[in-house]
Symmetry: C2
Subunit: 346 residues, 2 copies
């Protein structure tokens, strides 16, 4: 059933043209070699080292037409590279949010039989690039699963180490602590709005109306850059609570509030700096940039709380404070409407 | 958007009627509480104990219409309970095949928005039942991900511990070693053939033609029972190579042959005992029962090799021997045609 690769370049080959073993043989050389692993891919399971006697673990899935679109009505194409990047980035971010360092990924790919082999190879390349460029040195793919399905579904489980430190949970915020963020809240949401807008050019790149700023916003959506050095830095600095902003600042702040049994009061003035670089795109689309800042997820920056007087690590910006009382999120002491992403009810 | 559960019982509620938080709140009480876990569900990641400094990990996916069918043309319905059971069983089996003991699962569910909430609850119940009934005491669900998609896709990553022992890899078989199996090779494949047969009754149960034997075969396919005590027992007994029979005896034997650089010669006479209980179904369907024994996967029994003179643990049966030479599988020294499951090329 296989065809000669020399007659049929990989961008035309479909996964149905290859055996599972042949497809794996094409993918493995593209994936980062895991370090500090006791047994890598090729057996029924892999074996990870856990020098401090603990393993951190999380799982995340991306689904075609829900978490990404291969092709949008305006012609923009999300590449395999983009999906591989995002798959790695959002998983690495979950370990970062605990104050840990990612050590391995296991990856399951559900592929329509007509999926071009080149798409899957690009997926592997994007995954590898994210691991390297985001600074997850030593983290590699130690196992996986391949199967057929009606749409592309990409799941990765990620493991990490705390390197002997305590984890930073969502539940440790106390009244009087400082609320701080890293990264670029709202940027990925603005990028998504641009991607969904009809004014994108046919080739899927932002039109001149959006310019270089538009490209940056789109990149934040397609290839988020979680600040992997800052999770451990926050842990070392004594962060009392932390998570990654994946579903929107207000919604994620609410999770710390609930887990910690405190209120989080955010300062709209401090947050306005994040809206400023989005104003141009917001004006073009006729929306309020602050809505992206407050409700947009997927940037995978960190939201953390620090005890009074703690020195915030470089990269964190104070944007509010923890207050006693109901576990609610307020903006300058006013109730904040719940915004952000819910997978089913929206 | 939610409706009152009192007006709308869960078998009519669809996942789109609930928020993600509400759906999780319905699932968690049904899932087994993990033991020996340092941090369970509810944060960005969970934290597992790894007392011997190692964590075993694997990942497996089940896809609607590829790995299971909600409804077959003959009327048989695969329940959420069945899919939950199988999801747990096949993942637990991967740890068993290393000689380890499963400690946790992280589970990602991709659900069409119209999926009945009752289906997802049954999934959780089946997962829990498999963990308990198969003897994976202490193993629990420590995290997960929920999302929407066009078809049901269920992925679990499983972790395990080796309890201080060495893992049993695929690569340790040496000429002269004994080849042994556990479980019921061919039974799940026979069950699948019955499930796909038109002679099933309308309500999806095997007709009287198939009788009690038919029900057993169908159960082997829908709710496989990997022998979780036997992986560690084989490790203690000195097994030199091991894997779980998931894609077919010949195909999986070939994996040990390739990894170990040896031949595996299987004894057809010894294997015939596994065909005997399948003969009645085979005769009804007009097929050769030995084809199910040699090519059928999904029973999740173990295939292992043991050094000469090693006492096989109770539950293992000698079915051949490791021979020098090319890494091939033979049947009474005759070349065996490759059988079994390949996800794309079949």
């Amino acid at each position: 059933m296989s065809q000669s690769p020399s007659l049929d370049p990989s961008h035309r080959l479909r996964v149905v043209d290859l055996s599972e073993a042949d497809l794996l043989a094409r993918l493995f050389p593209r994936l980062p070699v895991p370090e500090g692993v006791l047994l890598g891919p090729g057996d029924d399971a892999a074996i990870l080292a856990a020098p401090d006697g603990r393993t951190v673990i999380s799982i995340d899935t991306l689904v075609e037409d829900h978490d990404f679109r291969l092709e949008r009505p305006n012609g923009h194409r999300t590449t395999g590279y983009d999906v591989g990047w995002k798959c790695a980035a959002q998983n690495l971010s979950d370990i970062n949010a605990m104050g840990g360092r990612a050590t391995s990924l296991v990856v399951s790919l559900t592929l329509p039989p007509t999926t071009p082999v080149g798409w899957v190879e690009a997926f592997a390349d994007g995954l590898t690039a994210a691991i390297r460029e985001l600074g997850a040195a030593g983290c590699g793919v130690v196992g996986g699963d391949l199967g057929a399905g009606a749409q592309l579904v990409v799941t990765a489980a990620v493991t990490g180490t705390l390197d002997g430190r305590e984890a930073v949970l969502r539940s440790g915020a106390k009244a009087g602590h400082t609320v701080a963020v890293t990264g670029t809240p709202g940027r990925a949401a603005a990028g998504l709005a641009l991607l969904e807008d009809k004014r994108l050019l046919e080739d899927g790149r932002p039109s001149r109306d959006f310019g270089a700023v538009g490209e940056e916003l789109v990149a934040a959506q397609l290839r988020p850059r979680p600040p992997l050095a800052l999770g451990p830095a926050a842990a070392v600095a004594g962060a009392s609570a932390m998570l990654d902003i994946s579903d929107g600042l207000i919604r994620d702040a609410g999770r710390i509030a609930t887990a910690s049994g405190v209120g989080l009061d955010l300062d709209p003035e401090a947050l306005r700096q994040y809206a400023a670089p989005l104003e141009e795109a917001a004006a073009l689309l006729g929306v309020d940039a602050m809505e992206w800042v407050l409700g947009g997820g997927e940037d995978h920056g960190l939201l953390a709380t620090f005890p009074q007087g703690a020195l915030l690590p470089d990269g964190f910006t104070a944007v509010g404070s923890v207050v006693p009382g109901e576990p609610l999120v307020t903006l300058a002491s006013q109730a904040a409407a719940l915004r952000g992403w819910d997978h089913f009810a929206h």
